[in-house]
Amino acid sequence: MIQPAPLLQMRGIGKYFPGVVALAGVDLTVRAGEIHALLGENGAGKSTLIKVLTGVYQMDDGQILLDGKSIRPTTPKAAEEAGISTVYQEVNLIPALSVAENIGLGRQPGKLGFLNWRALRRHAREVLARLDLQNIDVDAELGSLSVAMQQMVAIARSLDMKAKLLILDEPTASLDEKEVADLFGVMRRLRDEGLGIIFVTHFLDQVYAITDRITVLRNGALVGEYRTAELPRLQLVSRMLGREVHDNAPRSPDLIAADESAPRIVEAKGITRRNAIAPVDLTLRKGDITGLAGLLGSGRTETARLIFGIDRRDGGELLVRGKPVEIKSPRDAVKHGFAFCSEDRKIEGILPNLSVRENLIFALQAKRGAWKTLSREEQMSLCNHYISALRIKTANTETPIRNLSGGNQQKVLLARWLATQPELIILDEPTRGIDIGARAEIEQLIHKLRAEGIAVMLISSEIEEIVRNSTRVVILRERRKTGEVMGDAIEPSRLMRAMAGGHEST
């Protein structure tokens, strides 16, 4: 069999930000007529690599060959002109213009500055027909179409621009099953026409359904390139997560699940939100650390956001200590004794320019309201208590929190919630981006909270973190709960298999 000539070769790509190596020595090869999955967990470097390829970032090392010619795109426009088109989850076209205008944008037919509308529309219809999309009205305003249809229009536009390489960056994240099937149909058609397609997704089922090859990245480095048909799902997951499976991960013997009689702090019955999480049941008991295990995009954070009232749920009910409650906002959740440490410290956690003290007392003060103000003495005693208990390293209590390291910021946010004396604390990736010392301290703290009778829900991408710290593990896959295990059943390999799903033989 003759190997198709590589359409795109990225060799030894390196990209450095101050203090951070985003990519080092990464290769990516895409052949014409191939759908190539680019996979990796958070921080793997997928989006940096795409941004280098599409001219958003300039690479610091390496070489890009397109059709054997060296290119170095400096702007997204230059990349498009070279034949590299990108379709994002959030379509980057102009919603207020018609479908035909969007497709022809920048290359309008006409003379002397006058636009030939008839030619524009006819051309748009031809392009859509090539993708078997005659049902799209070229005069419709783009913004009035569904996200799926808008993506189709974006793909049609790429095709019209003589794209050789199409990058689909998480196109399926907000599509339903039928829309995904339609998208796959278009992707297969383009592949058969000889395009190269890079497909970024979190959904492994989709990877196995449509891709020919897989490139896996981890922590900014290349793990390897594989033929999809030759890489079993479990191996793929272990490569993405980055370690061989250790079944003897250290697990404290006292991590015994709370028994059925333990007080149920929170019970979720069939809580659900469209395109975020299928109906899920959860029982968070006093004395339990409930781990939520799943790959990126499996619905972990979505579940936490529903419980904490950040997103509205479409169905199901929440019981707090056996009584049904209506939680419509984080404020309601805090009143019921919930606490939620978000995975995104910068955007959803810290108040960057306010002091450590103000950040630390903030949730408690918000819970009490403006009138029941904590006195300066009370604030200082809370700060002093938590700064020494959690060993927070800060110059003093009045330093802006943005001056602290990631680990210390995280400890301040934990202290913020502990000060409210919560009954349930949800920790979403509590150790992400934190140095090893602080990480161990935060894990110790989690066990201490359990001992104090707080129900803990722990979300982590790191299986071993889940295994080390959970008394009970709920497994999520492709936005639904697929199992719950406890005790000796909490084993990395077993969890990984459950997270990967599919047939174990493949």
Partner: protein, 338 residues
Amino acid sequence: MIDYAIPQTPPPARSPLVWPLAGIGLLVVLNVIINPAFLKITTLDGHLYGMPIDILNQGSRAMLLALGMTLVIATGGIDLAVGSLMAVAGSTAALLLVNHGVSLPVAMIAAIGVTMLGGLCSGLMVSWLGLQPIVATLIMMTAGRGVAQKLTNSEVIVVQNPAFEYLGNGFFVGLPFSILVVAVFYFAAYFFLRRTAAGLFVEAVGDNETAARFAGLATSRVKGLVYVFSGLCAGAAGLLAASNIRAADPYKAGEMMELDAIFAVVVGGTALTGGRFLIAGAFVGALLLQTLTTTMYVIGVKPSVAPVPKALLIIVVCLMQSEKTRAWLRGLFRRKAS
């Protein structure tokens, strides 16, 4: 790994009030050169008179507006409606006093009630409907002018009521009454904002609204209430203005005052991006603007061209507050020295 690199903080700037205070100092020196008696304060019938007192008195309206504006800006918003609301307050009070013979306290309460309601409308549009603050308050700015004209039938209502005249012209223990109003507002705001958690909530909303909401704060309530407070300040300023000229003028009252208030806040060191705010900054900023206005009056600059030097001064103060400009100037002097 994920980028959690911490930006290096610039060395702590001196108090942001240094430059506006320097501006005031410069103007005072200029005035003293032109008129050596500028700083002289005399007593007549136990009342204090003199240019500094006059500046404080005339600046009182802008100081009140700037106080309300400070909080709105601290949440990341802006309030363009305050000038119009001043006219609404004056018109409401004048209408009730002259045409309906209502007692002064009731007229005042009604006038301020109406402007607070106007602020509530802005606040609801921002927090509940999610409109951009600049759009929401532009709507209230237009609507407020219309309401003021409707109330007065588009005419200036002259008020002959000694008690009402006292607000903007009278003296209390030697000082103009309006200065006392300003003092009471500033001290009350200071104690409310800095001795309770209200100030923290306002700053948190401006600093990172999402994080504040996720920590359990009712952020939309905070965002709405700052406009109500701004309406309260505008109402008080409107009453002082109408009393000062003994008439409610639906067209001229508070005209362009919203811009003076925004200038005062920015010059006083509160960033338009929201977050940390300085109550004293609003006062100092408004004082600088009024000192300049009075200075130009003394020098004899025509009122029609007065905005030009005003704009120049504001741009100088704003540039001097920027770390970038100061670094550039330092570099310039060093190069010249070598």
